[in-house]
Amino acid sequence: MSAPIELPKWADVSLVPVLAVIVAFLVAGLVVLGIGESPVRASILLVQGALGSGEGIGYTLYYATNFIFTGLAVAVAFHAGLFNIGGEGQATMGGLGAALICLKLDFLPWWIVLPLAIMGAMAFGAVWAFIPGWLQVKRGSHVVITTIMFNFLAATLVVYLLVNVIGKPGSMSPETRVFEASAHLPYLHEALAAFGITIPQSPLNLSFVIALVASFLVWLLIWHTKLGYAIRTVGHSPSAATYAGISIGKITMITMAISGALAGLLAVNEILGVQGRLLLEFSSGYGFIGIAVALMGRAHPLGIILAAILFGMLYQGGTELSFEMPRVTRDMIVAISGLVILFAGALDGLIRRPMAGAFARLLKSEG
């Protein structure tokens, strides 16, 4: 995302993000030290919590699912040179879309409701991103700002609807009624149980599979379709795109819509997969961490999956950690994400320049 510094590709996609994470952790470690806990023990607890048990792994992958969706959303926009900070709002709207379908149609069998609900989530997310895209194209307002505004607009809109329209009457918290079983996306332990395989219970559900499929499709889209070529052209050189007869406006709007649809899928995991009802703030910051994931994954689906799993571990491990070390709350993870974004996205020069230098010297010494 910053001034290009020539590095071997493999180093650029692997070493840079890894180093960024390492630095972020070192800083975080200092913080832990600062509040009087042992970073080493904390890390051990964290990893144990994340991977130490079947359930832990389940939770890790469940969180990772969210991060894959939001990470892909940010990444697709990156390729078109767009910065979509609206993942939060688009996910919220996705939840609304899914919920509306479920509330109306969950008397129908699952093989009708679920596909419709998933499409509803994507459609609402897409629209919520398309509008900022449209505004940028037609009215010249920058998506970064509009998407931020749209995050708040989505939040207030959903609050209003939950409180005054679709909320469960007399409920103690603004949320819809619980959907019928037909609108529930099976947990992985349920799905596998059907094949006689038993795994520990966790919120991990079929959305994870959807996330993997989505990742593959994004990879296909960006590097192996004509649309992807157009998207990347717009991202790298708008003037060349115009010359090539690629409509920047159209691509911008399409890309934003795709990006929003991906963010909307977060609702499939949270609403259809886990909560079984629409409630407030289910997107709880995943949208923003998606930025960290996309940056770390260097906007490549494979990288994004890996980065998402890392953050999944942080989230799950962080929760377990805060059981054992009440002083180290899960806010730690938010801070770490911030650090990763900083070092992978904004201060990457700090990492890349020395590396570039090292490689240059290496090549020289080789002849």
């Binding site: 509040i35 505004l135 180290v328 904004a346």
Partner: protein, 323 residues
């Protein structure tokens, strides 16, 4: 008269609520006029609010609290500056990072230090900026119509609120009338021109970023030492972004920024009062609609349906001499 009293009351609280917006908005103004986009206002204010509350509760001095807030905020500002100016990193990414970093750290450290769910201990007396009552406010208050204006609108705000006004006056003046202001306006539009004129782009931008930090420090301190009596996790609650909206709405100019923030503050005050209130005839007013207004208005403005908001030309672009 009853209506007038309510009007006064709403204006009064509107003023109180707009103060942090004004500080943050001016901070954004300085930063972006110099060409450094700053969506980290939220984070800087949050950090400042925490540092201020922590220091104040330790020393029982609001002024020390304010100082601590400013230091914390400037610290974050320098991170942003380093990323944006020295490292030529992506300024939006850096802003997002700062917001998350502040949100995480304040809550984490707050929990660890005070074990009160991220809150600092409640502040009393000198640890807070108490409202200043102007001479004779009580008596003058009795005078119909103008009395309340004096007693509630002019008088009765915390010292920091008056600082917000001063900050606006200074910002407007410095930008328009001083050498520093001229150079700053120039560097946000065309850094190369400033460079070839023999002025250091880097120094100018760092100066602007630091000013932004100081202002956010005031804003944050006001939140935890003036408006509330202590720090609460995520107590900025999006104010940094509303300020950003106000900045755009004001088209990056000081006084319009001031007025826009007042407007947004008033909207908030109205929303607070109308919460759950059943207005005869209309029934319950959906306060969410009012809360959404600032964002809506900004989007509409950005969309150029009411005027056009054109940011400084070089804002967001690192200054790169050698391709």
């Amino acid at each position: 008269m009853e209506i007038y009293a309510t009007l006064i009351a709403i204006t009064e609280s509107g003023l109180r609520l707009s103060v942090p917006l004004i500080f943050a908005c001016l901070a954004g103004l300085w930063s972006e006029r110099s060409g450094v986009v700053d969506i980290g206002l939220e984070g800087k204010m949050l950090a400042a609010a925490f540092a201020a509350a922590a220091a104040a509760s330790a020393t029982n001095s609001a002024v020390i609290g304010l100082a601590a807030g400013i230091i914390a905020s400037v610290g974050f500002a320098l991170i942003h500056g380093f990323a944006a100016i020295s490292q030529r990193g992506n300024q939006i990414v850096s802003g997002v990072a700062i917001n998350m970093l502040a949100a995480g750290l304040t809550a984490l450290v707050g929990n660890a230090w005070y074990a009160q769910g991220g809150r600092t201990p409640p502040l009393e007396g000198d640890a807070r900026f108490q409202p200043l009552t102007w001479p004779g406010a009580e008596i003058i208050d009795q005078i119909p119509v103008i009395g309340p204006l004096y007693a509630h609108i002019l008088s009765g705000h915390s010292a920091l609120a008056y600082c917000a006004l001063i900050a606006t006056i200074l910002s407007g003046f410095v930008l328009a009338r001083t050498r520093f202001g001229l150079r700053l306006r120039a560097v946000g539009e065309n850094p190369a021109a400033v460079d070839t004129a023999g002025v250091s782009v880097t120094k100018l931008r760092y100066a602007a970023v630091i000013i932004a930090g100081v202002l956010c420090g005031f804003g944050g301190a006001y939140l935890s030492l003036g408006q509330a009596a202590g720090f609460l996790t995520n107590m900025t609650a999006g104010k940094g972004f509303i300020a950003l909206a106000a900045l755009i709405f004001a088209k990056w100019r000081a006084w319009p920024a001031f007025w826009t923030c007042l407007l947004f503050g008033l909207l908030d005050a109205v929303a607070i009062r109308l919460q759950g209130v059943v207005v005869p005839g209309i029934g319950q007013i959906p306060v969410q609609a009012i809360q959404a207004l600032p964002y809506l208005m900004t989007v509409v403005l950005l969309a150029g349906f009411i005027g056009k908001a054109i940011p400084p030309k070089a804002s967001g672009l690192p200054y790169v001499k050698e391709r």
